[in-house]
C-alpha cells in the first residue's frame, strides 16, 4: 500500500503500545485519550470502550472526562477547523455577524461539523489579537478584521 495507505495502522500501533503500557492503570487515561484524539481527530465510541476495558476505568468516567475537556471531541472533525473569536473585542467589532454568516454558509451551528466533513466550526474566547478584531483562524491561519462579506471568499480557499 505504501504512501497511499489510508488506514490507521501506524496510529493503531501507537495506540496498542499505549494500551499495553497503561494496562490496568487508570492514571494513563488522559494520555491515552489525547493519543486517540490526535490520531483519529475525535474519540470514536469503540475506542473509548476499549480504553475503559484496558485501563480498568469505568466507561462512565471515560465519557465524563471526554465531555469535560474542550480538547476532546466525540464527533469526527472536519478537514478544516474554523475558529472564530467571540472575545469581548471581537464581539463588539462584529463577530456575531461573521458567526451568523459562517453558520449560514456551512449550514451548521457553531460547535459542529459539516455533513461532508469539510469544516468544523468552533467559537473561542480571545485569540490574543484584539488589535485586528474580529479574528478568525482556519487551520491556524489568521484572518484579521473579518466581515460577513468576506466569509464565502475565505471558505472557498479550503476544499
Amino acid at each position: 500500500m505504501g504512501a497511499e495507505c489510508k488506514c490507521h495502522c501506524e496510529q493503531d500501533n501507537k495506540l496498542d503500545a499505549l494500551f499495553a503500557q497503561y494496562k490496568g492503570n487508570p492514571n494513563g487515561l488522559i494520555v491515552v485519550m489525547a493519543a486517540i484524539q490526535e490520531t483519529h481527530g475525535y474519540l470514536p465510541k469503540d475506542l473509548l470502550i476499549k480504553t475503559a476495558e484496558e485501563l480498568g476505568v469505568p466507561l462512565s468516567d471515560v465519557y465524563g472526562v471526554a465531555t469535560f475537556y474542550a480538547a476532546f471531541s466525540l464527533r469526527p472533525r472536519g478537514r478544516h477547523t474554523v475558529n472564530l473569536c467571540l472575545g469581548t473585542a471581537c464581539y463588539v467589532k462584529g463577530a456575531p455577524e461573521v458567526q451568523a454568516m459562517l453558520e449560514k454558509e456551512m449550514g451548521i451551528k457553531a460547535g459542529n461539523t459539516t455533513e461532508d466533513r469539510r469544516f468544523s466550526l468552533d467559537l473561542v474566547r480571545c485569540l490574543g489579537a484584539c488589535g485586528i478584531a474580529p479574528v478568525m483562524t482556519v487551520n491556524g491561519e489568521v484572518y484579521p478584521r473579518m466581515t460577513a462579506e468576506k466569509v464565502a471568499e475565505v471558505l472557498a480557499k479550503y476544499e
Binding site: E53, Y63, G64
Partner: protein
C-alpha cells in the same frame, strides 16, 4: 492516640487528630447541616451547605472535609454562615423545578427539609431556562427513573455506585450548567452496566433518582372484578414497612402487613417466605448433589437479582458457580399460576401476581424473558416497600390500630429459616440448618449460625457436617462480592458454599426500602429479622408442613422434573460494555427451558 483540642461555638472539644470539623461538632451535639456528605462514602465538600467560620481562614470552610487543628476556633452559626447556607440553597433551587407537591419525594426530601430548617423564605433567582427538561428523563429501566431536572449534582449516587457496588455506571457528564449525572453516551440505565440495585435511589437527597412507580398497575388490577389478584411479601418488608408510618426501624409487623394488604383488596395474601423455605430445600439438595457428585464448587446463591445481573456482566465465566435455583420471588410466581391456580380452580390467565419487595432489581428480574415457566409472566407487578406504603397512605391506613392477621394457604406458612433471608448471612444460615440435618440425620446442636450474621463485609465459617468440614463465606455489597469472585478466578477460594447479597446488610438494606436507609437503620432492621426468626414456632425449612405438602401434592421431589421446570433457571452471559466472545448464550447451556 493523638488528639487535638479546638473550640466550636465557644465550647472546648477534644477529638482524635484527623477528625473533621463536622465530626468534632457532632461530638458536642452540634449537627452542622449537610447535603452532599455521606459518612464513609462521600466527603467532597461540593455542596457548600456545611460551611463554617474558622478564625484566621480567609473564606468559609466546608466542615465535612476540613480537618481539625490544635487551637482552632470555629463558629457554626454566625450571620455569615447562615447567610451563605441560605444563598447556596437559593442557588441550588434556581435550577430546580418547583414541583414538590407532585414529586415522589414530597415530605421526604433533604432539599425540602433543609430549606425549611434554614428558614428559607424566598428563592430570588430562578433561571428562565432550566438546564434540563422533561425530555431528559430516563425511563428506560423497569426499576429506576432518572430525572436530571431534580438533580443537585451532589454525587451521592455516583459515590455509592462506585464505592459500595464497584460499578459506577453513572458519572458527571459535561460541565457548568450543562452538567448531568448520567450513563455514558446519553444511554439509558437499561442499556448500560447498571445492576438495578437502586442504592442510588436510597441516597438521592431529592427526587432525581427514584423507583419506577408501578402502583397504578396494581390499582387497576384490584379494581378489575375479573382479575384474581395474589400478593406475596418478601422477608425484609415486614421489618421496614412500619417506618413509613412513623414506627421504629426493625419493628416486626408481619401480621399488620397482612391485614393492610387485605384492606387494599388483594384476593389472596401469601408469603415469599414460603418459597424461601422451598429455595432452601431445592438449593440444599443441589448443594449436597454438587458436593457428593463432584459438581462445580463453590456454589453461590442466586436470590438477589442485582447480584445476578452483576455476575452476568462482570464475571460471565463464573456463571456455572451459581445455584440454578430461581429466587423465592420467581419460584412463588411460577407456582401461583400453576399449583395455586390448579388448586383454586382459577384460569391462570385471570391471575395477576403481585410481589412486595425491598428491591428495585426485582422489577427487572420479573420481566426477564426466561422467567415465564408457568406459560405466563410469572410475576406481573413488583412493588417496592416504598410504593406499598404510598398505596396504604392513599387509603388512609391507620397502622397503629391495624389488627394482626395470618397469611392465606396454601403458600402462606413459613419458618424462621425463611425470614432470615432478609438479612446478610440469612440464606447461608437457613441452608446450613437444613443441609446439616439432611446429611447427618441428626438435629443440629445450635441452629444459630452467628459467625455469618452482622454487617462485616465478608464473613467466613467452617462447620463440621458429618465427616465433612464445610467451608462457607458470606458477602454483601457487590464491592465485597468482587473480592470473593477474584479469589475464585485465581483458584484461591476453597469454599464450598457462598452467599452473596447485592445490597449492604442484605435485603433489609435493599434499594426499594424506606428512606432513610443508613447503617443505624440497617442494624435495627437486622435486629428485627432475628427477633422474627426466634418468634417462629418452626425455624428449619425442611420442617415446614406446607413445604412437605407441596412436594407430596404437586412437585414430587426436590430437583425432580417438575421442580426443575418451575423452580430452576439459567443465566445469560452479558459482559460489561459488550457481549463477551467465546461464551455460550446461556448457563447451564444444556438447559431445556
Amino acid at each position: 492516640m493523638a488528639t487535638v483540642t479546638l473550640t466550636i461555638d465557644n465550647i472546648k472539644v477534644e477529638v482524635e487528630q484527623g477528625s473533621t470539623i463536622l465530626e468534632a461538632a457532632k461530638k458536642i451535639g452540634i449537627n452542622i447541616p449537610t447535603l452532599c456528605y455521606m459518612k464513609d462514602i462521600n466527603a467532597i465538600g461540593a455542596c457548600r451547605i456545611c460551611v463554617v467560620e474558622v478564625q484566621g481562614a480567609r473564606a468559609l470552610q466546608a466542615a465535612c472535609v476540613t480537618p481539625v487543628a490544635e487551637g482552632m476556633v470555629v463558629k457554626t452559626n454566625s450571620a455569615a454562615v447562615r447567610a451563605s447556607r441560605k444563598m447556596t440553597l437559593e442557588l441550588i433551587q434556581s435550577n430546580h423545578p418547583q414541583e414538590c407537591n407532585t414529586c415522589l419525594r414530597n415530605n421526604n426530601c433533604e432539599l425540602q427539609s433543609l430549606s425549611e430548617a434554614m428558614g428559607l423564605k424566598e428563592i430570588r433567582f430562578v433561571r428562565p431556562a432550566q438546564s434540563h427538561s422533561k425530555d431528559d428523563i430516563d425511563n428506560s429501566s423497569p426499576s429506576i427513573v432518572r430525572d436530571p431536572r431534580k438533580c443537585i449534582l451532589c454525587r451521592r449516587c455516583v459515590a455509592v455506585c462506585e464505592k459500595v457496588q464497584g460499578v459506577k455506571c453513572i458519572s458527571a457528564v459535561n460541565r457548568g450548567f450543562e452538567t448531568i449525572v448520567a450513563p455514558p453516551f446519553n444511554q439509558g440505565l437499561m442499556d448500560v452496566n447498571c445492576t438495578m440495585c437502586g442504592q442510588c435511589s436510597l441516597v438521592c437527597p431529592t427526587g432525581a433518582i427514584t423507583e419506577v412507580d408501578d402502583t397504578d398497575k396494581v390499582w387497576q388490577a384490584l379494581d378489575d372484578p375479573n382479575k384474581h389478584v395474589v400478593v406475596q411479601t418478601a422477608p425484609a418488608v415486614r421489618v421496614a414497612i412500619a417506618e413509613e408510618f412513623g414506627m421504629e426501624p426493625g419493628t416486626v409487623s408481619t401480621g399488620k402487613l397482612v391485614a393492610a394488604l387485605r384492606r387494599l383488596g388483594f384476593d389472596s395474601v401469601m408469603d415469599t417466605d414460603f418459597t424461601a423455605d422451598l429455595t432452601i430445600i431445592e438449593e440444599g439438595n443441589e448443594f449436597i448433589k454438587r458436593v457428593t457428585e463432584g459438581g462445580v464448587l463453590p456454589m453461590i446463591t442466586s436470590c438477589s437479582p442485582g447480584w445476578i445481573k452483576y455476575i452476568e456482566m462482570y464475571y460471565p465465566d463464573l456463571l456455572a458457580h451459581l445455584s440454578t435455583c430461581k429466587s423465592p420471588q420467581q419460584m412463588f410466581g411460577a407456582l401461583v399460576k400453576t399449583f395455586y391456580a390448579e388448586k383454586k380452580g382459577i384460569d391462570p390467565a385471570n391471575i395477576v401476581s403481585v410481589s412486595i419487595m425491598p428491591c428495585t432489581a426485582k422489577k427487572f428480574e420479573a420481566q426477564r424473558d426466561e422467567l415465564k415457566d408457568s406459560g405466563y409472566q410469572d410475576v406481573d407487578v413488583v412493588l417496592t416497600t416504598r410504593e406499598l406504603a404510598r398505596m396504604l397512605r392513599e387509603i388512609g391506613i391507620d397502622w397503629e390500630n391495624l389488627p394482626e392477621e395470618d397469611y392465606d394457604a396454601p403458600m402462606g406458612l413459613s419458618t424462621g429459616a425463611a425470614v432470615i433471608f432478609g438479612a446478610t448471612g440469612g440464606v447461608m444460615e437457613a441452608a446450613v440448618r437444613t443441609v446439616y440435618e439432611v446429611i447427618t440425620k441428626e438435629p443440629m446442636p445450635d441452629i444459630n449460625l452467628t459467625p455469618v450474621r452482622g454487617m462485616e463485609g465478608i464473613k467466613e465459617a467452617t462447620l463440621k457436617v458429618g465427616d465433612l468440614d464445610v467451608k462457607v463465606a458470606v458477602a454483601h455489597t457487590l464491592g465485597n462480592a468482587r473480592k470473593l469472585l477474584d479469589k475464585i478466578r485465581a483458584g484461591e477460594a476453597d469454599y464450598h458454599f457462598i452467599e452473596i447479597m447485592c445490597c449492604p446488610g442484605g435485603c433489609i438494606g435493599g434499594g426499594g426500602q424506606p428512606i432513610p436507609t443508613n447503617l443505624e437503620v440497617r442494624l435495627k432492621r437486622i435486629g428485627g429479622i432475628y427477633k422474627a426468626d426466634e418468634a417462629m414456632p418452626i425455624r428449619k425449612s425442611h420442617e415446614n408442613p406446607a413445604i412437605k405438602a407441596i412436594y407430596e401434592e404437586f412437585l414430587g421431589e426436590p430437583l425432580g422434573e417438575k421442580s426443575h421446570k418451575l423452580l430452576h433457571t439459567y443465566y445469560v452471559p452479558r459482559g460489561v460494555y459488550r457481549k463477551p466472545e467465546g461464551l455460550p448464550d446461556k448457563v447451564p447451556s444444556g438447559d431445556h427451558h
